[in-house]
């Protein structure tokens, strides 16, 4: 079953690249606007061989990790308080819904004014752009915990921080994962978006360099890399985590 899917996918991508190659050979669009897959690959090899590609990936991922960690820790704390303390939900809860609707890049001007053109600014954009997705997932998760779990835990002496760490968070984990997943997607958009606008390092920066140099194959190449990093993180980290949790929590 898995093998068949993989085969289908490989055939699909080979076909896609072939069509891309054919279209670029017809010269409907000039070559400096629509590169061939070969040129893009060439560019990838080139940026990889001088190390700038890996440095860019590393920089972006490091910023992502720091920003996302802040978002996850902060988001879970806020979400738990919202779910457990009604007054927090009634007040801060409504604000969270509003903040959640602000796109990450809309935080960029504020980040530049507060942090200057620094890593701090990018991490701020990444963290704040993804935190509220985690908050809302945590809130929903904690609200949906089987009340018997909490009662049994309280009965056995768990309260406060202990209850949160040993019961609320693990019990809400199936929801938390979808929050992390959403948070990571927002964070990745945030990092790239912020780098594009005000960084001197990272994949977003490389993308911007491609634009400034009118190097269309670099733009294509970096976009591909951004996508592939996304697929890799989704597939390697989140799929596995999800599978494990789903069977452990008896959801499958």
């Amino acid at each position: 079953m898995k093998k068949i899917t993989l085969t289908k996918q490989i055939i699909f991508y080979i076909a896609l690249i072939s069509i891309w190659q054919l279209v670029s050979m017809t010269n409907i669009w000039p070559n400096n606007l629509f590169p061939s897959p070969y040129e893009v690959a060439e560019d990838l090899v080139y940026t990889a061989s001088d190390g700038s590609l890996f440095f860019g990936i590393g920089t972006s991922i490091l910023r992502l990790i720091i920003g996302l960690t802040i978002a996850i820790v902060g988001g879970m704390l806020l979400g738990i308080f919202m779910a457990r303390v009604e007054i927090v939900n009634q007040t801060i809860g409504s604000l969270v819904l509003g903040l959640q609707s602000i796109p990450s890049v809309a935080w960029v001007p504020l980040a530049i004014l507060w942090f200057g053109l620094t890593d701090g600014g990018i991490i701020f954009v990444t963290a704040i752009g993804s935190m509220f997705a985690v908050t809302i997932a945590t809130y929903t998760g904690v609200k949906n915990i089987n009340p018997h779990y909490i009662e049994a835990a309280r009965n056995m002496g768990a309260k406060g921080t202990q209850l949160a760490i040993y019961v609320l968070i693990p019990a809400a984990f199936p929801y938390l994962i979808s929050g992390f997943k959403q948070g990571w997607a927002f964070a990745w958009r945030g990092v790239i978006g912020a780098e594009l606008l005000f960084s001197f390092l990272g994949l977003g920066f490389l993308l911007n360099v491609g634009r400034q140099l009118n190097d269309i194959s670099q733009v294509f190449a970096i976009m591909l890399v951004i996508m592939m990093v996304g697929i890799a993180i989704d597939g390697v980290i989140f799929k596995r985590l999800e599978n494990k949790v789903m069977s452990r929590w008896g959801l499958r």
Partner: protein, 252 residues
């Protein structure tokens, strides 16, 4: 010595259109080491009563005295076992059993020693490293009982713990439950809707009336143990309980 005393327990519930009086003044006195079975029509408030004794719910009138002192909150001396066990799916069997000990700050090695004793008693040793989704319903119920016994409570509160079991597994656990009670000398409050179960387990059976419920009748069961489900000698008592119960069920 009186272990537990319910004094005129009244409990209301707010529903949208009306106020429902679940418990209408329950009085019950339970001596240390007694095994009291509670039977009554569905919805009469047996679970509610047990939750009040556990301190998970507060009565609107009256009070529960534990060793002569009023109960105000949940405590490790009164441990409840829920019908579905409410085991934590994110923990292995052994960690489930040790949960209360961990919350009490008991070190790992000591916890393992204590839990081993109860895992052995419940014939769960082989499954110590399993997750709850890997267990049958009967095994889950054993884990839930082990998790409660580990707390070494004075009073064990059990809310239809065997309701979801098949007949063979239940009969087995009915015998085991009697042995555990004889071995541990716990005071047990056991809710069941099964009259046979009540006469097999209880030193006495308390029959609830329909809402607003009170305790209508208390029937002593003086008969040698271990008692079996098919024991003909318990038959007259079962008939007596049923004749108390039947008019209440009709009213509801």
């Amino acid at each position: 010595m009186t272990k537990l005393e319910a004094k005129n327990i009244v409990k209301y519930f707010k529903h949208d259109s009306h106020r429902l009086t679940a418990l209408g003044g329950v009085n019950l006195q339970i001596e240390d080491g007694e095994f009291v079975c509670l039977v009554g029509p569905s919805g009469c408030g047996k679970s509610t009563f047990l939750r009040i004794v556990a301190g998970l719910e507060t009565p609107d009138e009256g009070e529960i005295l534990f060793d002569g002192k009023p109960v105000t909150t949940t405590g490790p001396e009164r441990i409840i076992v829920f019908q579905e066990g409410a085991l934590f799916p994110w923990l292995k069997v052994q960690d489930n059993v040790e949960f209360g000990l961990k919350m009490a700050g008991i070190p790992k090695e000591e916890r393992a020693q204590i839990s081993k004793r109860y895992l052995d008693m419940m014939q769960l040793t082989k499954f110590a490293d399993s997750y709850t989704y890997q267990l049958s319903t009967g095994m889950k119920q054993r884990v839930a009982i082990a998790r409660a016994l580990v707390m070494d409570p004075d009073v064990l509160l059990m809310d239809e713990p065997f309701a979801a079991l098949d007949a063979q597994t239940r009969d087995l656990l009915l015998v085991e439950m009697q042995l555990i009670w004889e071995k541990t000398k716990k005071t047990i409050l056991f809710v069941t809707h099964n009259v046979t179960e009540a006469t097999v387990l209880g030193t006495k059976v308390a029959v609830f009336s329909n809402r607003p419920s009170t305790i209508k009748k208390i029937i002593n069961v003086d008969y040698k143990r271990p008692r079996l489900v098919e024991d003909q000698n318990l038959f007259p008592l079962q008939q007596e309980i049923l004749s108390e119960l039947r008019p209440e069920v009709k009213k509801s």
